[in-house]
Symmetry: C2
Subunit: 397 residues, 2 copies
DNA sequence: GCGAATTAGTCCATGACATGGACTAATTCG
DNA sequence: CGAATTAGTCCATGTCATGGACTAATTCGC
């Protein structure tokens, strides 16, 4: 076909083969032909090209189990040829995960949270990159890095990669993606950096590998001293125009008037976050709620079982449930995943939340409310998946 | 390439050519080659195939303006080879539009609303199909019909094509798509039928050809004695799991307790719909609000300029604005389109709505609030576009 | 332990397709 | 009226996928 369009078909078929190899694991050429529907010869040609490119590798030693016939030579995706990095910039800690081209984690680091506010964000992120570079040395160097995914506990604009606001990190309008990209560039590494909020990252992980696997339409409620949400509709993460979709915490609660960290009054967050419930309990009992080191407020509350706590928690649950019912009315999901410290919250809160959510459901069946199964690892895992997707999108993987 | 995959490339290229011809109008083969980037010969071959299939037609008589050189033979998409139908099942009227394969309306009918409740839905829809068949006779018969799009003033499940609830039509759980498909099948016409709510249809029309053209992320607020909304995110209409996404009218308003038509209490609709405002005004003034025949309640209210009307309208605007702010917080659109009878509502209502919406905006810039430009034709037009999309999706156009 | 059966993988001839350049056709312009 | 110009077709070439023939390397039954 001697032209530009010519190789389009080859590219598409190559893609199919690589995909099959990634999803289905090591396979023989004959098996690939069966699985993809392509002709044996076509597969052979494509695999040959992939072999010289180093994208796949022949597993000479390993034998597929055989029921007679010539033994198959297994071909496997070469997962250690390229890596992605994931960063979680969270409350109280920074996590770093390196995963291979199949998404399998190969390195994990967790460093306690430095007081970001005291140091310029550029410096903080440069340090993270230094650490990343160091880890990558052990497995082939930064050259093998293909993308970086970042989960930030705060409000993020995915399009620009800026963190608009992260009270818990002491950040305001920090160009996270740009700073990371620049720090990497100084080490001769030019890779895409994708940034999302913790709710979004967590939902991506729960959706692909956690509680919401296989669901087309899911929302996730997230608590980390603030209230957030993320939405997957028709299998796609909803970003919105400026990427700040899902901002449930700052929806107006009619009648409420408490000042919010965002500068306005009467936000849902002033009634239904960990700190809000703690204040209510302290007001009611006159006693301080003690938090262990780094412990989420909701967890501290759950440890006490005063009636005052139950009452305040139930009230917060009703508010959160109502706000969540706005969310589900708008997006009509079949499942609601509770994530972040919400899974640690007092039972009274979760019961009230589910109750309201079910009462306000319009659909035939109310959405299923479940707790996330990935725990506090959801956000980093989501960042890994984000990085993988991005690397594949720009054909660097 | 002698195989199945072989023609994939040809199909794709054919698609490109047809698309170009639809979007760009009549063009010469040489022009198509330039526009699509394909080789001249490739275009010639494809056009030849399309000519024998009757998909395109040579415009022998018409001359493209020339600056010298051999005159071009214009090739045009044959728009009258296939048609789609659009139905609007609205309050007080039923509309029927037949459009050609380019979406150009060729026939429009409007019949006053029969009291559906009195007759079985199957009968009502069969009558509409009879009318449709009759109109189609004049332009080649039902054989040329490729798809039907329906806009229903009520709650619709797009996946099943059922109308779950339409108080204004007196319908509850009516399988609109099935009934229409069956009625058409009885006349030997087997075509896909897609059904959406009025808000969704209107948004599709405003997004493609109206006030929201070119916007990636838009929501539409809709009033027709009830309150609804529709969402386009990243250029895609949001349906949700059961297709009922955007149900703003039945979100819970904390503190409100009035009984709603949906069977629950405290819905936004009980405070911010035309009927709700009318009741408030009548309570305040002790006088009935008069409606002209078929006139939306909001329009009737707008004709009066008592302070009581202004006050009640402003209050409704604040409620609606707050509910809309939940919607925009969740979906982060750049534009909000007001549609349905909302554009007829008293100024005080719209002012209050915009005010609240801007106050509660989290983004750098609040979303742009605009009135729909397609007026009450938006819903049918959306149904036409739905039918076109469906027909193209299933390759019947 | 040996041939039949079986499965993997390659070779090869064929057919579809896209393409660039040569070539013909039908104009306009000077 | 011929040169320049543009449209469209013809043709040789190269890429690609494919099915069937063919070779290779096993297991299984006897």
């Amino acid at each position: 076909m001697g032209g530009q369009e010519a190789s389009a078909l080859r590219r598409a078929n190559t893609r199919v083969v690589v995909e099959q190899l990634r999803e289905g694991g090591a396979t023989s050429r004959a098996g690939l032909a069966r699985d993809t529907g392509l002709a044996k010869q076509t597969v052979s040609t494509i695999v040959a090209a992939l072999l010289t490119d180093g994208v796949v590798r022949e597993l000479g030693s390993v034998r597929a189990e055989s029921g007679g016939g010539r033994p198959a030579v297994l071909v496997a995706y070469a997962a250690d040829r390229a890596f992605v990095a994931a960063l979680e910039l969270g409350v109280g800690r920074t996590r770093l995960v390196i995963a291979d081209a199949l998404g399998e984690p190969v390195q994990t680091q967790e460093v306690p949270h430095e007081p970001h506010a005291a140091r310029p964000a550029a410096k903080v992120l440069a340090d993270v990159v230094a650490r990343l570079a160091q880890v990558m040395e052990g497995i082939g160097g930064l050259v093998l890095l293909r993308a970086v995914g970042v989960s930030v506990t705060g409000l993020v604009q995915p399009t620009s990669g800026r963190c608009v606001l992260a009270p818990n990190l002491g950040w305001r309008d920090v160009p996270v993606a740009d700073l990371l990209r620049r720090a990497l560039a100084r080490r001769g590494c030019d890779v895409p950096v994708v940034v999302r909020g913790a709710a979004q990252s967590s939902l991506i992980a729960e959706h692909r590998e956690g509680a919401a696997t296989g669901q087309r339409d899911v929302v996730l409620l997230f608590e980390d001293e603030g209230v957030g949400a993320a939405i997957i509709e028709a299998g796609r993460l909803l970003d919105g125009a400026d990427g700040t979709a899902g901002e449930l915490g700052h929806c107006a609660w009619p009648g409420a008037d408490a000042r919010c960290g965002c500068g306005r009054r009467g936000c849902v967050e002033t009634l239904a976050s960990g700190p809000a419930v703690r204040r209510a309990v302290e007001r009611a009992t006159g006693r301080r709620v003690r938090r262990r080191d780094g412990e989420p407020t909701y967890a501290a509350l759950a440890r006490r079982d005063d009636p005052e706590v139950a009452e305040a928690a139930a009230e917060a649950g009703r508010v959160l449930g109502t706000a969540a019912s706005w969310l589900t009315a708008v997006t009509a999901p079949r499942m609601v995943v509770l994530s972040g410290s919400l899974v640690l919250a007092p039972v009274a809160l979760r019961t009230a939340l589910v109750q309201v959510l079910c009462d306000r459901s319009l659909a035939d069946a109310p959405p299923l409310v479940v707790a996330g199964v990935l725990g506090d690892g959801a956000a980093v895992r989501g960042a890994v998946l984000l990085a993988l997707d991005e690397a594949r999108r720009v054909r660097r993987l």
